[in-house]
């Protein structure tokens, strides 16, 4: 367990964080599961929420709740201010201006919006190519396959090396004149590897293709400056970054958002509507049809303030430390195969998660065994079936950390994992 450190402003950025103390901000983490302390290692699926987030949403709902942008009454004005402040806060969290942030219900909607709207903006058709990778989450894969099916364009995949890193030589070959869109994940939700997205962006820019980044697994774990990165569009989900369900963000470069037609249509995104047709507001409102998730957005703003208060550099350093402890421990347990263990030593830059296969024991059974000890991990293909096929398995066990996990959590996991194969007699 880390110990509390006194902070001076200068040291704060690198000071280790006190995860045990932070864990107390998360009520659920003091639950007992199957007679054991809950060891929550499933933050890659959904993170837990600190009290500050729960309270922000409840305060709003009990004191200022009203529909935004449409009422002149005091509550509506107050709600509108809180909602737009939340936009500025969440945009700022990824280095962006408020008008570059479109509210969505989550990353899946953001990526679908990107696919539908870019398809129309670029007038995609036969001969055009969409390049993505072979290690994507289904949310950044199927929308492109469907877009291709609708328009006659084709999808091409950047393959991964055995160690889980992307094959950049292949990427350089694949991304060419016909490429209109390049979509990739910043961090794989299975491998935990931070992809060299600057290089992909440079390749795409060289051929004038639009870039779309899945930032689900980076936004809660790494400091992000999306405008500096130069990516055109990037999507993330509130519930994976200590925020509420039902809200997410789609960041967009101004020119790119301007060029995109609306996807969902309805109230609050129009200038004029007649029975003949509608005219649309500029971004971000153009993409925000209907009542937005106002409470969740305000909750998400509280979440990113919480993350910023700790500091993303520190969070990242902490999680990297946990991941390295996990890797070292798992490597010593017979029959454990790590997915994406670059160069056999976890050399690729990464976030704090590992997926692994337990030889002779199905992931479901392994997960069940861990659950009996209060350890919550994820088992299955983690919505990345092609990735699993690439590494010759149908399912794996994934342990994913967040700022509230302690080295002790990792040790509890390691101890339990070492008991799996003996228990199942393999």
């Amino acid at each position: 367990m880390t110990t509390a450190t006194s902070e001076t402003p200068a040291a704060a950025a690198t000071d280790p964080l006190d995860a045990a103390a932070l864990a107390r901000d998360f009520p659920i983490l003091s639950e007992q599961v199957n007679g054991h302390r809950l060891v929550y290692l499933d933050s890659g699926a959904t993170s837990q929420r600190p009290l500050a987030v729960l309270d922000a949403e409840r305060d709003f709902l009990t004191h200022a709740n009203a529909a935004v942008h449409r009422g002149a009454h005091t509550l509506a004005a107050e709600a509108t201010e809180l909602f737009e402040d939340a936009r500025a806060t969440v945009a700022g969290f990824v280095g962006a201006a408020p008008e570059q942030l479109v509210w969505t219900s989550g990353a899946t909607l953001g990526l679908n919006l990107a696919a539908y709207s870019l398809g129309a903006a670029l007038r995609l058709g036969p001969g055009d190519e969409i390049v993505t990778t072979a290690i994507e989450h289904h949310a950044n894969l199927i929308p492109w396959q469907e877009l291709a099916a609708r328009t006659g364009a084709s999808v091409r995949y950047i393959p991964a090396h055995d160690d889980g890193t992307l094959d950049l030589d292949a990427a350089a070959e694949l991304i060419g004149e016909r490429t209109r869109i390049v979509a990739f994940t910043h961090v794989s939700n299975v491998l935990g590897i931070i992809n060299p997205v600057e290089k992909l962006i440079a390749l795409a820019q060289a051929v004038g293709a639009v870039t779309v980044m899945d930032a689900c697994q980076s936004a809660p774990h790494l400091p992000l400056d999306l405008p500096a990165l130069g990516v055109d569009l990037a999507a993330f989900s509130g519930h994976k970054m200590m925020g509420p369900y039902g809200v997410g963000g789609l960041y967009g470069r101004a020119e790119v958002l301007e060029s995109m037609p609306p996807f969902l249509t309805g109230g609050s995104m129009i200038t004029t509507v007649t029975l003949e047709g509608a005219q649309y507001l500029p971004p971000p409102q153009r993409f925000e049809a209907g009542t937005q998730p106002i409470g969740p957005a305000i909750g998400l703003a509280a979440a990113v303030r919480y993350l910023d208060g700790i500091g993303l550099e520190r969070i990242h350093a902490h999680e990297v430390m946990l991941a390295e402890r996990m890797r070292a421990g798992l490597a010593e347990i017979p029959g454990i195969r790590l997915l994406g263990d670059a160069a056999g030593a976890g050399n690729a830059p990464r976030v704090g998660l590992w997926s692994f296969d337990v030889e002779g024991v199905h992931a479901h059974d392994a997960g069940q065994f861990l659950d009996a000890r209060g350890i919550a991990v994820r088992v299955g293909h983690h919505c990345a079936a092609p990735l699993h096929a690439r590494y010759g398995v149908t399912a794996s066990v994934r342990a994913s950390t967040a700022l509230y996990n302690t080295p002790d959590d990792v040790d509890v996991l390691l101890d339990a994992v070492s008991g799996i194969r003996p228990y199942f007699g393999v």
Binding site: T80, T271, T272
Partner: protein, 155 residues
């Protein structure tokens, strides 16, 4: 004076009932009859309530010669347009002055009651200071000013 009365000053209600410079000056006849200059026109709309304004500015060299407008909307938006047109008529502003004035107006209106508009500079429009406490109405008051900004950029 309560906040509502501070918003709806007598002057505002007067202007909204008797809007000044209402009715667009004929653009084509411009050079011959109404004087020299280039015409810039802007249409602005508040999507929430459907309020709209069309404003025409005649710019003679660097001077805004006159402003006329048409539109419909709430008393704040109508009064604001009327006061703005009056101000231009009375002061004979240069482009640069107009731009600075609009910026100052915007800043005051967004100040949430922190900044007061100076009557010596803004004339009747200074009465709109109270709007800044009503964030939902700032757009109403800004409509004409945004239109002028756009119109002179086009002229």
């Amino acid at each position: 004076m309560n906040e509502l009365d501070a918003l709806y000053r007598e002057l505002i209600l007067d202007h909204s009932k008797h809007p000044q410079h209402f009715g667009l000056a004929d653009a084509s006849a411009g050079e011959a009859s109404a004087g020299e200059g280039r015409i810039g026109e802007s249409y602005q709309k508040n999507p929430v309530c459907g309020d709209e304004i069309t404003l025409r500015a005649r710019v003679d060299g660097e001077t805004i010669a006159d402003v006329t407008w048409e539109g419909r909307g709430c008393s704040i938006s109508q009064a604001s347009a009327s006061m703005l047109a009056d101000l231009v008529a009375e002061e004979g502003l240069s482009r640069a002055e107009a731009v600075a004035l609009i910026e100052g107006f915007r800043e005051a209106l967004r100040s949430r009651g922190q900044l007061e508009l100076d009557e010596d500079v803004y004339g009747d429009a200074a009465a709109l200071s109270g709007v800044s406490k009503f964030s939902a109405r700032v757009k109403c008051a800004m409509l004409a000013w945004v239109a002028l900004e756009d119109a002179i950029a086009k002229a």
